[in-house]
Amino acid sequence: MKKTGILFLTVSVLLVCVFIYSAITGSIHVTPIELLEGLITGQHAQVEIIKDLRIPRMLIAMFTGAALSVSGVLLQSVMRNPLADAGVIGISSGASFFSLMAITALPQFYFYSPLFSVLGGAIACFLVYVLSWKGGLSPIRMILVGIAINAMFTGMAEAFVTICSYFNITINQSGQSNLTMKTWGDVRLIGVYGVVGLVVALFFSRWCNLLALQDKTAKNLGLRVTRMRLLISITAVLLAAVTAAVAGVIAFVGLLIPHISRRLVGSDHRVLIPFSALSGALLILTADTLGRTLVAPNEIPASTIMAVIGGPFLIFLLRRGDRLHGHS
């Protein structure tokens, strides 16, 4: 317990440090003192620009990381599969494709675009579930089906963009992850849906613990296992879909963070879920900050950085396949 406390503190302190560093670094540079003064007084011109352009982006990066990590934890729990990640198995790209279509066809409903995302994500999740089910969910089969679903939705989104540009229809958003040009409106969007999703996930943490037992054991403890699975899946899809709508597809976060967090704080979801959220926020904020400062004025998208780190990590997990069944 004490160790867990120290870990929470460490990640929180790191998050604050990275936040401050990220806020003051970039094409406009201020000192931390100037930043603080400017934020309080509202008189500092450069800080105002940072407040309008940089801070929303940072907040979105943090929400994205937290939401994707928790979505990964929930999916892994529901599918009893350590490889489940919304970005890898196509939930994010399904969500992204649907929100792309919705925004193009009905731009006036921008605030509700996450609802279309959730629909797309749910369809992808359902397809993965049904197509990889063979008397149980084998982790490897599920990931293969998921990659196919992901490829399908990514392809459909690209085709959609191409077709639309042919007809000179402006596309607000491409399927590729993009954290630039974010506004406080986007923050509100991801904030509202993201916070709801995270709170609900925390509420489900006790259920996630019980799903680690066998289904029949959980059933004998008086639980309605199918209903629990459904509700947790919906929450996971919501979290992944809202980030896909706002920040595009970022894969591997939901794989990397839960795995490392489980090593650090154990598999009790009451601790694992908040810790993953915090670490995920730290990871994506760091990735985005690095992405825009390393080769400035050019940018490397956070999703690219995650793919570079995440790809090898997935291979590492697959290589240890004997432990994929997880528990014993």
Binding site: N209, L213, T217, S267, D268, H327
Partner: protein, 256 residues
């Protein structure tokens, strides 16, 4: 518990359990035996409501199993499965506490009552000293006791065990069976279990139900059920049945 004309199949083709009718007596240890594929574990899982019968009815205290709310059933009947899974970093105490799930409500439930039940479950299974230890550091036999403790924490009058001794060495087989007997004698639990070993069944059961091809062939007291003819009929193995002054009846296979 009353089982009436119960049939069940996984694939709608071959009935794994075929119109089984029997009655489980309160306060006794009942053991279901039979060869592989005889439907004994399936019958137990039907009785535990893990599967619903295709035909027939199972009643507990005069009420059909499917009429119980899941949590209410979990307060009457606990099950220890043959194989169990849990994250290995959980402490024994945490795993046993899962047994309190049926008593938890939106507002949390009765903490003191939970604590008392967990305490009792741990002490009955002699795990009190290991309560803070992670599951990973226990042997297979000790883990089996943890699963039994979890079921005990449910505080049910009935306990089902599916092949509780199968993966254990002889020390823990004995250890677990003695524990089961103690739960029956001292705490009055009604016990139904599936066993492979006929001698263990003889020694630890009040009632034996012998199954073959999804049907009950014979049931009653061990020495009435397990005759040389019956064992040959059920298992196609010739045995000789002896009496020992200390341990009572025992069965020795002599040929196929």
């Amino acid at each position: 518990m009353d089982i009436r004309e119960v049939s069940f199949s996984y694939d709608q083709q071959k009935d794994i359990v075929q119109s089984v009718t029997t009655h489980i007596e309160k306060g006794k240890i009942t053991t279901i035996i039979g060869p592989n594929g005889s439907g004994k574990s399936t019958l137990l899982s039907l009785m535990a409501h893990n599967h619903a019968p295709n035909k027939g009815q199972i009643h507990l205290d005069g009420q059909a199993l499917n009429a119980f709310k899941p949590k209410e059933l979990a307060k009457k009947l606990a099950v220890v499965h043959q194989q169990n899974e849990a994250p290995l970093d959980l402490t024994i105490e945490r795993v046993v506490a899962f047994g309190r799930t049926p008593y938890q409500t939106m507002r949390g439930g009765d903490k003191e009552e939970d604590e008392r039940a967990i305490e009792w479950a741990l002490s009955s299974t002699k795990l009190t000293e290991k309560r803070k230890v992670p599951l990973a550091s226990l042997s297979g036999g000790e883990r089996q006791r943890v699963w039994i403790a979890m079921a005990l924490a449910q505080k049910t009058p009935i306990l089902f065990l599916d092949e509780p001794t199968t993966y254990l060495d002889i020390y823990y087989q004995f250890d677990i069976l003695e524990l089961i007997r103690e739960l029956n004698v001292v705490h009055g639990l009604t016990i139904v279990m599936v066993l492979h070993d006929m001698n263990q069944a003889v020694r630890y059961s009040d009632v034996i139900i012998a199954m073959k091809d999804g049907q009950i062939i014979s049931e009653g007291q061990p020495n009435d059920v397990l005759t040389e003819e019956m064992v040959r009929h059920i298992y196609h193995v010739s045995v000789t049945i002896r009496q020992d002054a200390e341990t009572g009846m025992y069965i020795v296979p002599v040929g196929i």
